[in-house]
């Protein structure tokens, strides 16, 4: 039996980068085919070729043994291909129903949009993906997870036979992830050919029955028998070396309290928050999506104005009312949403990295020291292994994980006292994750302190010295490292109905 979907010798050349190099593999109907590889390995590029957004430099995509010649995304849609992208493409100001049917609005005879039918179709589609979402709701009022579900519903609506997911769970809650997996299983039973890109190994083992490993734009290997592979084998194929324990936690010295937050109150919090951070400490914050972690961090960083409470830095009270004032005191923040709050996509890697740190190297307080800036950028490109053809490339064209590294570099270039990392490894590959964790230990050994917010429980448990759990806009409890247990932490994080 020939496969339903085949990639034959597909290559893609970008100016200065060979994103894909002679890739051949196939996906059967009823198969969930995992794609894994480091940041910039070419996974998203492959999906964009499948979607008709990019034209392959060489080779072709075959569907049902027919060579495809997509001239645009519409052709691919018509051929039954649906892609759920890493970055979502919904119109925030339009309703769920409108987004679902965008481009295919049902019409009345008069030519006007038939809103009633539209709503019916939308409701039916939404019920299929088990969502209790009001079709009249505007997209901007939905959580990122819910938006992801809308994207999936959109794909199903077009009766696609080939469905590709590009890191779909990176912004989903656990509950939403489980729901997504149920949907994927159903799609598989319905005989769809599914491609699933993820950096999360446990997901690959949970839902894929085949997995292909990419490295540097090349296909390294396809494993068709999942019982013959394990986590370590995949990781070593992916990064070209063994990583036994991705966290490799190191015991470290800790000093006195550097930051004390007292009764901080502001938008997104239900109760005043108090906690302290020690010198050399990695303090984890765990909670479900919507627990108020990011909101709390934004208040601390001054991105949002607080309505009450106080900060003490080295036991001295200080005022923080803007990101700039936080930065001047040595406190830095990597936001969770890198596309909207982190990168400046049309500006270069060089400018994105130096945007803040350059204030230390300016001549006469105004003129840039371009040589110094280039050196800073180059040192981080090699230190964090940022994959970019050169330092003047616009950040928007880098792969997702590499964009994240650019933001990290922006702050690592600074003389950090406290680094707040909101989802620091979202979309980052195992090898780099491991390096980032090492970097975190190294920074704290140098006397810096880190706050690490994550929805990835194994991650916060893996790297934190202490862990604070948040729920519904308040801090509920904290654990020392020797008290960490997945069960207790989760039970504290989940909404507890009995308490109300």
């Amino acid at each position: 039996m020939t496969a339903y979907l085949e990639f034959k010798s597909v290559s893609k050349q970008f100016p200065g980068v060979k994103a894909l190099d002679d890739v051949t593999f196939s996906v059967q109907s009823g198969e969930v085919h995992g794609l894994i590889g480091e940041n910039g390995a070419g996974k998203s590029t492959l999906l964009k070729i499948l979607s008709g957004a990019y034209f392959p430099s060489e080779g072709a995509v075959y569907i049902n043994s027919q060579a495809m010649d997509f001239q645009g995304t519409k052709d691919a849609l018509d051929a039954g291909v649906a892609i759920i992208y890493q970055e979502l493409n919904l119109v925030p100001e339009m309703t769920v129903a409108e987004n679902l049917l965008l481009g295919h609005f049902p019409r009345k005879k008069s030519g006007f949009i038939d809103f009633k039918t539209m709503k019916e179709i939308a409701s039916k589609e939404l019920s299929y993906i088990l969502e209790e979402i009001d079709p009249d709701q505007k997209i901007k009022n939905l959580s990122i997870g819910q938006r992801q579900m809308i994207e999936i519903a959109k794909a199903l609506l077009h009766n696609a036979d080939i469905i590709a997911f590009d890191e779909p769970t990176s912004s989903l809650s656990d509950k939403e992830t489980i729901r997504l997996f149920e949907i994927i299983k159903n799609l598989q039973k319905a005989g769809k050919a599914i491609i699933y890109v993820s950096h999360r190994m446990e997901e690959i083992f949970k839902i894929c029955n085949t997995v292909t490993v990419f490295r540097d734009g090349k296909k390294i290997e396809t494993f068709t028998d999942m019982s013959k592979v394990d986590h370590d084998i995949l990781v070593s194929r992916m990064v070209g070396r063994d990583i036994k324990d991705v966290y490799s936690y190191r015991q470290r010295e800790q000093g006195q309290t550097v930051l004390e937050v007292k009764d901080l109150m502001g938008p997104g919090l239900a109760k005043p928050a108090s906690f302290s951070l020690k010198k050399g400490e990695i303090l984890g914050f765990f909670g479900l999506v919507g627990a108020g972690r990011s909101e709390l961090m934004r208040l601390i960083y001054g991105a949002e104005k607080h309505s009450g409470g106080a900060f003490y830095l080295d036991e001295e009270q200080m005022k923080i009312n803007s990101p700039r004032s936080a930065i001047e005191k040595g406190m830095f923040f990597c936001p969770e949403d890198r596309k909207d709050e982190g990168i400046i996509p049309i500006r270069s890697v060089n400018e994105n990295i130096n945007i803040s740190v350059r204030r230390h190297s300016m001549k006469a307080g105004l003129f840039l020291d371009k040589k110094k800036e280039r050196e800073t950028t180059d040192s981080f490109i090699s230190k964090l292994q940022i994959k970019t053809p050169n330092r003047d490339k616009d950040v928007g064209s880098l792969s997702g994980g590499n964009q994240q590294k650019v933001i990290l570099a922006r702050w690592l270039a600074e003389d950090v006292k406290i680094l707040i990392m909101d989802e620091p490894t979202r979309g980052i590959d195992v090898g780099t994750k491991n390096e980032i964790y090492q970097l975190m230990y190294q920074l704290t050994e140098e006397g810096k302190s880190i706050i690490c917010v994550s929805s990835d429980l194994p991650e916060v448990m893996g790297v934190s010295d202490r862990l604070i759990v948040m729920r519904d806009g308040e801090i509920v409890t904290s654990f020392e490292r020797d008290e960490f247990s997945e069960e207790t932490i989760l039970s504290k994080a989940l909404p507890d109905k009995a308490e109300n």
Binding site: A53, R324, I344, R410
Partner: protein, 326 residues
């Protein structure tokens, strides 16, 4: 946004040409245009006409320098034409009253700056859209110009003031020198200072820039303030050239400036603002106008031609963008 245009691979020769086109497309067009006009339009390529051309673009050139920053940060300013009128009138009135050229020029420049501060503060602090803010301000300022002048042109009695706009240095009129200096200064500001880079970053992603610790509100106010001062100064120079402050001068000037910038490849959505582009844009606009005058093309047709040129330029730019994304 994902790009939806498929693009086919190209061979290396095409690539080289495309690169040249990408980086200095408008310059190439300008040079071609210049050569063609020199050959076919009588008197075009004469020293006298070149000086006239330079003078005619000097006002747009000066203000384009600061408009560039406005556009780079993702905003624009429609009140500059009225500031030009207001500052010219103010300078005239103050010079007549005090007898001091220095105080008069200062009053014109600072008056423009004050309007800029108000523009910037409303836009940055209250978060009001720049279109509405500067449109409203434009009305107010035009009204002020009429109020200050009493409704008609204010003749200036101090002849020494006319030197600013009509004098020469090394055989070239002062306004041209001033424009050149402005382009150099603002080019350096844009490319070699944190002020310039932060402005570009703001146009690229405002929230990310704010979270990166850049004082975005302050910079925004600064951009509009400098813009106001520059427009004020241009107004003073114009008053000097016309030997009077005219309250109803320069209608449509703001859009001329913005068009010139856009023509040179400055993005209206911010983040992309090559200064050499603005220079070329200003020159193309001025050259076409100049040639049309030499050829005695009626004004009515001149409007049409200028509009067509602008649209073509923007279309070319659009086309270029969809190509480079892949």
């Amino acid at each position: 946004m994902e790009n939806t245009n498929a693009i086919k691979p190209v061979n290396p020769a095409v690539k080289v040409i495309r690169n040249l086109w990408e980086n200095s497309g408008m310059l190439v067009i300008f040079i071609l245009l210049f050569i063609i006009l020199s050959i076919f339009v009588p008197y075009f390529f004469t020293w006298r006409n070149m000086i006239g051309l330079g003078l005619s673009v000097s006002m747009v050139g000066m203000v384009a320098c600061t408009m560039l920053f406005c556009l780079a940060s993702g905003d624009f300013d429609l009140s500059v034409e009225n500031i030009v009128a207001f500052s010219g009138v103010t300078a005239a009135v103050v010079i007549n009253a005090t007898g001091s050229i220095f105080i008069g020029v200062l009053a014109g420049v600072l008056g423009g700056g004050l309007i800029g501060i108000i523009n910037g503060t409303i836009i940055a602090k209250a978060g009001i859209n720049a279109l509405i803010t500067t449109l409203g301000m434009a009305q107010i300022v035009r009204g002020m110009a009429f109020i200050v002048s009493g409704g008609s042109a204010v003749g200036i009695t101090n002849m020494a003031f006319f030197n600013l706009g009509n004098g020469q240095f090394l055989g070239m009129p002062n306004p041209i020198w001033i424009t050149i200096i402005c382009f150099v200064v603002f080019g350096v500001l844009l490319n070699n200072t944190s002020y310039g880079k932060n402005t570009l970053a703001m146009g690229g992603n405002m929230e990310a820039t704010r979270l990166a610790g850049v004082a975005v509100d302050k910079i925004k106010i600064m951009i509009f303030t400098i813009q106001g001062m520059m427009a004020g100064f241009a107004g003073v120079v114009l008053a000097s050239r016309m030997t009077s402050g005219q309250p109803n001068t320069s209608i449509g000037f703001s859009l001329d400036v913005i068009s010139a910038c856009v023509l040179g490849g400055v993005s209206l959505s911010g983040g992309v603002a090559p200064i050499q582009g603005a220079i070329v844009g200003v020159l193309i606009m001025g050259t076409v106008q100049n040639a049309m005058n030499l050829m005695n093309i009626p004004t009515f047709y001149q409007y049409v031609v200028r509009g067509v040129i602008l649209l073509i330029a923007v279309l070319i730019d659009r086309f270029k963008q969809t190509n480079t994304k892949n």
